[in-house]
């Protein structure tokens, strides 16, 4: 019994597993930075949607509709790759010439090549997540702005507040209450989307789970075992459920705090 425990403890704390645990940092960073960016893009998008100028409204609408027409995975893959290629194209304009080393595929010459490794990919992944879920956030915030009862704004106007005062003192203050449930949902989406990091060559928790669970037959490579991936994926499944459960709790607290004294419905 004790030996078993010692064995499993040793197994679960070997170098491979430590790397797995360490790789959770990618997921957490992607969620946090992605979340901040999503909120930023969301506020910008909502401003565009509510703008007086038709052009801005058009841009906002296209941005917000984007996520409805195409899968988020597609965008998640496309944006970093496209961004990389865009940068390379930009660099190649000035760098590539007759002297440079030509290249068979992309970019046109090797000097223009931008080498992406984990930090860059992670940054781009955060931006991707920010853009995708920013569109959802924009929609949530826009809806919340509209959900603020007209009477509340009218009363402010009737007392002579300027448009800016109405916006900041009343409209945005009350908007959060209506936005929080929606934001909570977007946050859950974003957390779930962090599972896709491995698609961008990041050795994240999902990639390591696959590695650790794969069968091994070579004693030199470590413990010989069969296919254990199911156990690792179930662990991840449970991990994500716990994380969403926890965030939901936090959001519920936040909502309760934000709407203290407010009517219960809505």
């Amino acid at each position: 019994m004790g030996e078993d425990l010692a064995f499993w403890w040793g197994y679960l704390t070997n170098g491979k597993h430590l790397q797995w645990y360490a790789s959770f940092r990618f997921t957490i960073m992607a969620a946090l930075f992605g979340g901040v960016l999503a909120l930023t893009f969301g506020l910008l998008g909502a401003m565009a949607l509510r703008s007086r100028f038709a052009v801005l409204r058009g841009i906002g609408t296209v941005y917000v509709s984007m996520v409805r027409g195409i899968p988020d995975v597609l965008f998640f893959l496309f944006f970093p790759l496209a961004f990389e290629q865009g940068v390379e194209w930009f660099v190649s304009m000035s760098v590539c010439g007759p002297d440079s080393t030509p290249n068979a595929g992309w970019p046109p010459c090797r000097e223009a090549n931008w080498l992406l490794s984990t930090p860059e990919y992670l940054t781009l992944a955060c931006v991707s997540l920010g853009i995708i879920y920013g569109a959802f956030t924009a929609n949530v915030i826009n809806g919340a702005m509209r959900a603020v009862p007209r009477g509340q704004l009218e009363a402010a106007r009737a007392f002579g507040m300027s448009d800016m005062q109405v916006l900041t003192r009343i409209h945005i203050r009350q908007m959060w209450i209506y936005a929080l449930p929606g934001l909570s949902n977007v946050w859950m989406l974003l957390i779930k989307a962090t599972s896709l990091l491995s698609l961008l060559q990041i050795a994240d928790i999902v990639w390591w789970a696959g590695q650790l669970g794969s069968p091994n037959f070579l004693p030199q490579a470590g413990l010989v075992h069969g296919d254990w991936r199911w156990a690792y994926f179930i662990a991840l499944f449970v991990f994500y459920i716990l994380v969403t459960l926890l965030s939901e709790r936090v959001f519920r607290r936040l909502t309760a705090w934000a709407r203290r004294g407010m009517p219960v419905e809505a």
Binding site: A82, W230, L236
Partner: protein, 252 residues
């Protein structure tokens, strides 16, 4: 101009792969819906155990990434293969991506759809339910006469979104399951082509166009059905049509 031409000429290449995405969606939606209805009713029931089980299921599958659910299902099915499927001679079916894909999608969409239906069940006008009960209808009659027609109408816009997002989710299947006999979906094809010539703009755009087109088609068809469902309300009282709504709560 060249770019547009290139996109245009590449579009047909995704026709066959698109069939796979459509297959995954069509194979999982009806079963998922029936399963979801059971879950929603269970969650709405007075039986605490049943309610707990259904809520737990719905929470688990909405609270975790589909991407991981795919991996999990495949590896579990694989682990079960030597002890169950092979002895029962079911391997050919159980281990087929064309089965596991829809299986995972069914489990997943059932949870999301159940949440939608549950929300709708809760908003069925209480008065109409009471009226039905006051006239002596049995449980099943109340369900037929009031609960179901109201639920489906209330849920339809959100369900339309669920259908579209489930269709999008089919893009994940071949990121996670092995490819058999070069059967590839849109996303996998785009990925493969991209790895050949690194032309992200071309291949991913074409994939996006396919997804977009089919999404719009779904919105159109479901919008039509919605109009029919809502013909009992004067036009100005009909809630926003499906295409105008979207609720992140119901997206994976």
């Amino acid at each position: 101009m060249d770019a547009l031409l290139a996109i245009w000429s590449e579009i047909p290449r995704y026709g066959q792969p698109a069939l796979f995405n459509l297959y995954f969606a069509i194979a999982s939606l009806p079963i998922g819906f029936i399963f979801a209805l059971g879950l929603a009713l269970g969650r709405n029931s007075n039986n605490r155990v049943l309610r707990g089980l259904c809520s737990g299921y719905i929470y688990a599958f909405r609270g975790s990434p589909l991407f991981i659910q795919f991996f999990m299902f495949y590896s579990i099915m694989l682990a079960l293969n030597p002890i169950w499927w092979r002895p029962m001679e079911l391997s050919w079916l159980m281990m087929n991506p064309l089965f596991i894909g829809p299986l995972a999608l069914v489990m997943n969409t059932a949870a999301y759809t159940a949440e939608i239906l549950y929300g709708a069940l809760r908003t069925v006008p209480r008065g109409e339910l009471e009226a039905a009960r006051a006239f002596g209808m049995s449980r099943t009659q109340v369900f037929r006469t009031v609960t179901w027609p109201n639920t489906i109408r209330i849920a339809w816009p959100a369900y339309t979104n669920e259908v579209v997002f489930l269709f999008h989710a089919t893009a994940l299947v071949y990121f996670t399951l092995p490819v058999i006999n070069a059967q590839r979906d849109i996303m996998n094809t785009a990925q493969l082509m991209f790895e050949r010539d690194y032309n992200a703009f071309l291949h991913f755009s074409v994939a996006a166009i396919w997804f977009l087109a089919i999404s719009l088609l779904i919105f159109f068809i479901f919008g039509r059905i919605y109009e029919r469902l809502m013909r009992h309300l004067p036009p100005d009282q009909v809630p926003a049509r499906p295409r105008l709504r979207f609720r992140p709560k119901y997206i994976r």
